[in-house]
Symmetry: C2
Subunit: 290 residues, 2 copies
């Protein structure tokens, strides 16, 4: 884990999307003795003795099944079990688990977590208010009243380093652990491109004007279901006007300071984001030249 590859990527799951729409094949896979169910505690993964995701038999399922895909030749499922907390609340345990989980395993988990959470929050039709039911192997819900089809939501988020004369801008949200600073971020809105969202967010939160935006990398972020899009943005002027409703603080940091933070140096000016967060990858890629 050198941090150049984004967390939550590299899953070896084959989503086998054609099977989702084939009820007969889906039934056969569900009945198969090789079928496996992802083991969760609430929405957190249960890790096996090998340090990887734990899986169990479908006999243990109590809820509705989502077909995740095929992995190592085995059909993989997740279940929507009533009564689990929604994905907006994160347990304190999850970040310790993610610290130790390989990125590909975290990717498979991310798909399961985001899907389960989406089903739990979409029992009703946004269009007519009637109840909805799962269809397509768990990759959608259909309204029992008006027949409208609903599909799992993915929310694009831009996350970016503003760059000015060899320094980058990092900010601190009030909810961060003590000492933590990270790249600025925000939800992309209807009617804008990635580059426009980056420019808007940097202007809104820090008052800087962007001249150029470069895409760097992306990752899924399952809290509850974002697509993180990481960019570097060049700015002409380093004067800041901080929006204190969003940020507690924002500072310009040098390469040496970022290097010290990523290395865990106790004298570093800030505590870096964890390796599985794409802000970490963004810092590493910036240090590596872009």
């Amino acid at each position: 884990m050198n941090g150049l590859v984004p967390g939550f990527t590299g899953s070896t799951l084959d989503r086998a999307d054609l099977i989702r729409n084939d009820p007969e094949q889906l039934a056969a896979l569900t009945a198969s003795l090789s079928a496996r169910l992802i083991k969760l505690d609430g929405l957190d993964p249960v890790i096996g003795p090998d340090g990887l995701l734990g899986w169990t038999s479908l006999a243990d399922a109590e809820g509705e099944l989502i077909f995740l895909g095929l992995q190592d030749g085995k059909p993989r499922f997740a279940e929507v079990r009533p009564g689990i907390p929604d994905g907006f609340s994160r347990s304190p345990a999850i970040f310790h688990i993610l610290d130790a989980l390989p990125p590909g395993e975290a990717g498979t988990y991310a798909a399961a977590r985001s899907l389960i959470d989406w089903h739990m929050r979409h029992g009703f039709c946004a269009r007519c208010g009637s109840a909805t039911a799962m269809f397509r192997g768990g990759w959608g819900r259909q309204c029992l009243g008006c027949s409208a089809e609903h599909f799992p939501r993915v929310d694009p988020v831009v996350i970016m380093l503003a760059e000015h004369e060899g320094r980058v801008l990092v900010g601190r949200q009030p909810r961060y652990p003590a000492g933590r600073y990270s790249a600025l971020a925000g939800f992309l809105e209807p009617g804008e491109s990635i580059e426009e969202a980056v420019a808007r967010e940097l202007h809104e939160e820090a008052g800087v004007r962007v001249s150029q935006v470069h895409y760097v990398a992306s990752q899924p972020w399952p809290f509850p279901s974002s697509l993180m899009i990481a960019c570097i943005a060049h700015v002409e002027d380093d004067a800041l006007t901080i929006d204190y409703t969003e940020l507690e603080d924002a500072i310009w940091v040098t390469r040496d300071e970022v290097e010290a933070s990523l290395g865990g140096d106790p004298g570093a000016p800030f505590l870096s984001p964890p390796h599985y967060a794409i802000a970490h990858t963004l810092f590493r890629r910036w240090l590596a030249g872009g």
Copy 2:
């Protein structure tokens, strides 16, 4: 319009997001004589004699107002008027209008159209089925039953050219106009990165295996509310296994052939996508070297 800048980008609208959460300021802007309402026919823009978006006075509004932002010093609004068709259906007129509309104007229109359509399809809470009401100046809805907050949806879509030894792969969907081929595309799913979605879609639709993915550009696409993420993907082997449930055909084309198509040459092997579609930008950027 040289096609290198994506369509629907370059809007000069200032979204002024702080105003959305300030009911007093919002009320003052709504009462202001300088306030303007975007003129629509159903969901299509009404174009003024100057070839730009038409705007009228708020006195003409019959529905609920969305605060789009500030432009040329004037507050700009859109209205959710009951009874207009939803954004999944596109009128035949819209593509002719977009042919002539400058990209920045199309960007402002895209924000309005996607937001209006989202409100029309989200009158009820997906969580509990109760009615919802607009809040935050139209940038969200809140449930009148359980108080859950809902925000406008943006669906990330990957659109990509597979590249192999100087040729790129273009495909044809049954619903395309006669002769049209374009870049392959598909919705990004929960739990995957942009790069993974590109690799999955190319494998699902054309049977090719991707070795490297490069991001090229992005644009909003308001039918009903996508974020188009355009990439080029290198493949090692050009053998195709086409998924005929998705595509009618897929072919490899050379630089000269793409150039002829973009130039409207009657002898070209395919009809190119319109300039406001990011597939067009993707072709132009590929010809320009990536």
